[in-house]
Symmetry: C2
Subunit: 425 residues, 2 copies
Amino acid sequence: MARIVVGMIGLGTVGSGVAQLLSQQRQLVLKKIAVRTLDKPRIVAAPCPVSTNVADLIDDPEIEILIEVMGGEHPALEYVLAAIERRKHIVTANKELIAKHGPALFALASEKGVTIFFEAAVAGGVPLISTMHKGLEATKISSVTGILNGTTNFILSKMEDAGVSYEAALKEAQALGLAESDPTNDVDGLDVAYKLSILSALAFGEFVRPPVIYREGIRKISALDIAQAKQMGYRIKLVGITRKVNKNQLDVRVHPMLVPLGHPLAAVSKHQNGVLVRGDLIEEIIMVGPGAGQMPTASAIVGDVVNLASALKLPDFASYFSLEITSNWAELVEAGQYSCPYYLRLSVSDAPGVIGRIGTILGANKISIDSIIQKGVTNNQASVAILTEEVLNSNMDSAVSELLKCDFLKEIESKLRIFRTESDA
Amino acid sequence: MARIVVGMIGLGTVGSGVAQLLSQQRQLVLKKIAVRTLDKPRIVAAPCPVSTNVADLIDDPEIEILIEVMGGEHPALEYVLAAIERRKHIVTANKELIAKHGPALFALASEKGVTIFFEAAVAGGVPLISTMHKGLEATKISSVTGILNGTTNFILSKMEDAGVSYEAALKEAQALGLAESDPTNDVDGLDVAYKLSILSALAFGEFVRPPVIYREGIRKISALDIAQAKQMGYRIKLVGITRKVNKNQLDVRVHPMLVPLGHPLAAVSKHQNGVLVRGDLIEEIIMVGPGAGQMPTASAIVGDVVNLASALKLPDFASYFSLEITSNWAELVEAGQYSCPYYLRLSVSDAPGVIGRIGTILGANKISIDSIIQKGVTNNQASVAILTEEVLNSNMDSAVSELLKCDFLKEIESKLRIFRTESDA
């Protein structure tokens, strides 16, 4: 049996897992590993030569598949482009790279007749990409909605389970190595935005330029929000959505949402990821599994390598694996052009008629109230929780700006979207 | 672009959906449809000649792929074998056929160099088979656990939501066309057993002879069981399990279980299916989606046909698609050699010391009690609900036979297994 020769750039946690799994694959040979620096302690003894000479690896004509697990934008981009130029197939877990440079990378790969596999880049342990690419062949996907970041999901789960603040939960996540010392990428939704760009390409054929994706993170979520949501039958999750609005436009967002407790996405806990795919024929499919972690991610990478290697034994395999992705960036709808129900929590002065005035302002902005609860009064101040019916986002924005002008309003404590189980939003 | 010519046997609900979807696929041509009888009313106008002449279809050298959607064991088996003999690839939704004759069918297909695709046979709309086959390439699967029958799931959901009896919920399912007039296949777990045979082949490489699979249906579940389970934080589901116990043996069962309300499988409602795959590297992955239905099933079939057709344009595609399935039937562990926690509900006479005697009998059989609740006494009779810790199945059997000999015992009203979220059972 012919063996396929593989090279790898990067030997951190995931890379070590990949090296270990590759040694169990008889049809694959890991020939060379390139790393940034040799003086870092390594988890495993490498099964092959390790050097800092990336060029030697990329120029090796025997290597047919390059595994890129160094992460980050640069120099990963330059290395991957150089490898594609030399007609090597790429397997990567690098979501930032694929999300930011997908159009250029896939255009070059198509020109050179090679393939880029990236199962590990989104929802590490969940075989989401092969499912969307092969398993849903005959379905037209209308939206992909997911809990795509394990760090924020851990923080929100912790806040609920232990009743602690965002800051306390973040500290614990940092202590456990689940969040970085600068948690911006996770808690402000940037990581999810990268994944949404990739999911958009898979579902609709076009990447989305990450900076134009609407982002709202979890820094402002309070333990009280979580407790009150639970009382009302909801759990707060950081949700990412990409949705086809019309022939040319997508609606792509990441923000916290209330998910009904009975819904499978509400049960996605701790470091798990969960993804809901809606399509014209399949209604909806939900996949839940480990979002990251050494071995789930390594397993996804090696799965890609094995599938690629099997295909490499065929002549014209490229057409079989081709992803129909254009080299254009996708166009987005104007922000505010989608609707969903909302949860609002306001601090107001405890004066007669305040509920009525809130109701009038919401009504004037075409917002119907589903329920409204006034809570305990302290220092002449009351807390009002409101669940609305479905609201156009721009209408909610103008209601909020009107509320902010009112003398009775102390603060808008929360404004959260409610996840609808039955439709795309 | 070369077009692939396809034939179909069967034109019922699913077949009509397939015909409709195939007409949208430009690289496919549906040339002939064969049916049992021409005097049945059809849902759609067929897009090609329809006859009762199956031989004419099977002998047509132009047809490369045969879609079998007639269902049932005979004559589907004879038709499919004849088509494989003539080197046609098969796409089928027929779980009974695959489960009962998998070893023979795959052995012949391998001999003739053709492929059998059957994505629609298990969990119709959930792309489970392509996920297990391609997406989890590098993972060693340890168990597959699922809610695999939409009819029983509908009945159980209905019993909970409306608080009605099994009989009333079954009648409603029959009225809605979700259950057949003889519901045996569904409610006694036979349909799930077929699917478990197929899932065993995918996960472990061997089919399981359906009659040797342990089966317990839902006929005995009462509205009270469901209400009490809910009070304790559980929902009752009909669960199928296939699990690798050791190198040569599987543990394969279908029976009702209590699933914790917070678990994603508890959220699988109505006609949905849900599957949990555990593996050495992936921890667990859960997929939830439509279990059946015309278009989800038709979409799975056409997805298979499209994937096959793409591959047919390659020369030696068969090796790429080969499923590593032996022609042997799998060996099972002895019944009783697995363990899980249990829920017991007993009617007992209301006499002093009864709880103590129950506890003694359970203890003597190595059964630890997690909680025990005695409920309202009527006519000198009390109801006792017990949650146990993990129990070896054979120990539970002997405890039950000892309890049955006791004078205080009126009846064992329920004996249900509890789903453990953290391990294989």
